[in-house]
């Protein structure tokens, strides 16, 4: 499977994503520069973390206007798989590929630590290798990761099963105490209506190596690799 990892000026998890992907057999991953307009025939687009364009003004606000994002929008509209991690999630929201927005953390501080995520849906290209209710230990590292959407949008996201991961505790309980940043309904990651675009604040690429404390993030990448032959894909189609 071929991955395109976007590189904006200020991206800083691009190399990490390439490294993490390289540990999965059957993957091929290349950088795509923000000024480019071609994805080079990739099957999956990864919008990595970092501070695109310095994250000045608003996170992701300037990246959305880059030439490559126009291509990514077309790619997504045609059903292509897109995953946005951290700053990548912010960019996808700003670009309108995902609803809602990410605002300043509740306690106003940047927060880097391991958190727990509960897998809410598995009928997607991003979570099919996991099980409903599974608890993943994955780090977050962001200052503006508090997910916000209006009530109507939240209702729709829930009704359509588009919240894929929520912050929880080690036992899988979703509570205010297990919410690291004040996100609405502990939302950590959502997908679009077509279920082919996924954004999440936590960093699965930082949890694919036993030396880094957890390998729970690999289930996300494994899901992408499994997708072409997944029985869930057929039922989704």
């Amino acid at each position: 499977m071929k991955f395109a990892v976007l590189r904006f000026p200020g991206s800083n998890c691009d190399q990490d994503c390439i490294h993490a992907l390289s540990t999965f057999p059957g993957t091929e991953a290349d950088y795509v520069w923000h000024k480019d307009t071609s994805l080079g025939g990739a099957d999956v687009v990864v919008v990595p973390g970092g501070f695109s364009y310095g994250d000045y003004l608003r996170t992701g606000s300037i990246a959305r206007f880059s030439p490559i994002m126009k291509t990514v929008k077309e790619f997504a509209a045609a059903g292509g798989l897109v995953i946005g991690i951290c700053n990548g999630f912010q960019i996808l929201c700003e670009s309108g590929l995902l609803p809602g927005a990410l605002v300043r953390n509740r306690d106003l501080h940047f927060l880097c630590k391991h958190v727990y995520l509960r897998v809410e849906q598995t009928d997607t290209p991003f979570t099919n290798a996991s099980t409903k209710g599974a608890v993943l230990n994955v780090p977050v590292a962001h200052g503006e990761g508090c997910y916000f959407a209006d009530d109507e949008t939240l209702k729709r996201l829930n009704a359509e099963g588009r919240v894929l991961v929520r912050y929880c505790d080690a036992q899988g309980q979703v509570s205010d105490a297990s919410n690291p940043n004040g996100s609405k309904e502990n939302i950590a990651g959502i997908c679009n209506e077509g279920r082919n675009v996924f954004g999440l604040m936590p960093h699965p690429e930082r949890a694919c190596d036993p030396f880094l404390g957890s390998t729970d993030g690999s289930v996300i990448f494994q899901s992408l690799l499994n997708w072409p032959t997944s029985p869930l894909r057929k039922s989704a189609a």
Binding site: L57, C93, A101, V103, N105, D107, L108, C146, F148, G182
Partner: protein
């Protein structure tokens, strides 16, 4: 010629910075303070006659995010 765009968080969006600022103001002796909101002020120098329509477009698409913010545009001659 100058344009000033003020971008404020929507009332429905949590503004922890505003809340923290209000708290700090109380500590500094302004007990009677009500709600405080923190937004952005963007000052744009414009050499020629401003294209107001374009400025509105930029304020809406770039300078603010309508999901969470409202903007106001003022032209100062």
């Amino acid at each position: 010629m100058k344009a000033i765009v003020t971008v404020m968080p929507k009332p429905s969006v949590l503004d922890p910075q505003g809340a923290a600022t209000a708290e700090a103001m109380k500590h500094l002796g302004l007990e009677s303070v009500g709600r405080v909101r923190v937004g952005k002020s963007i000052e744009i120098e414009l050499p020629g006659e401003p294209n107001e329509e374009k400025l509105h477009e930029i304020a809406r698409d770039l300078l603010s995010n309508p999901v969470i913010e409202d903007y106001a545009l003022e032209i100062v001659r």
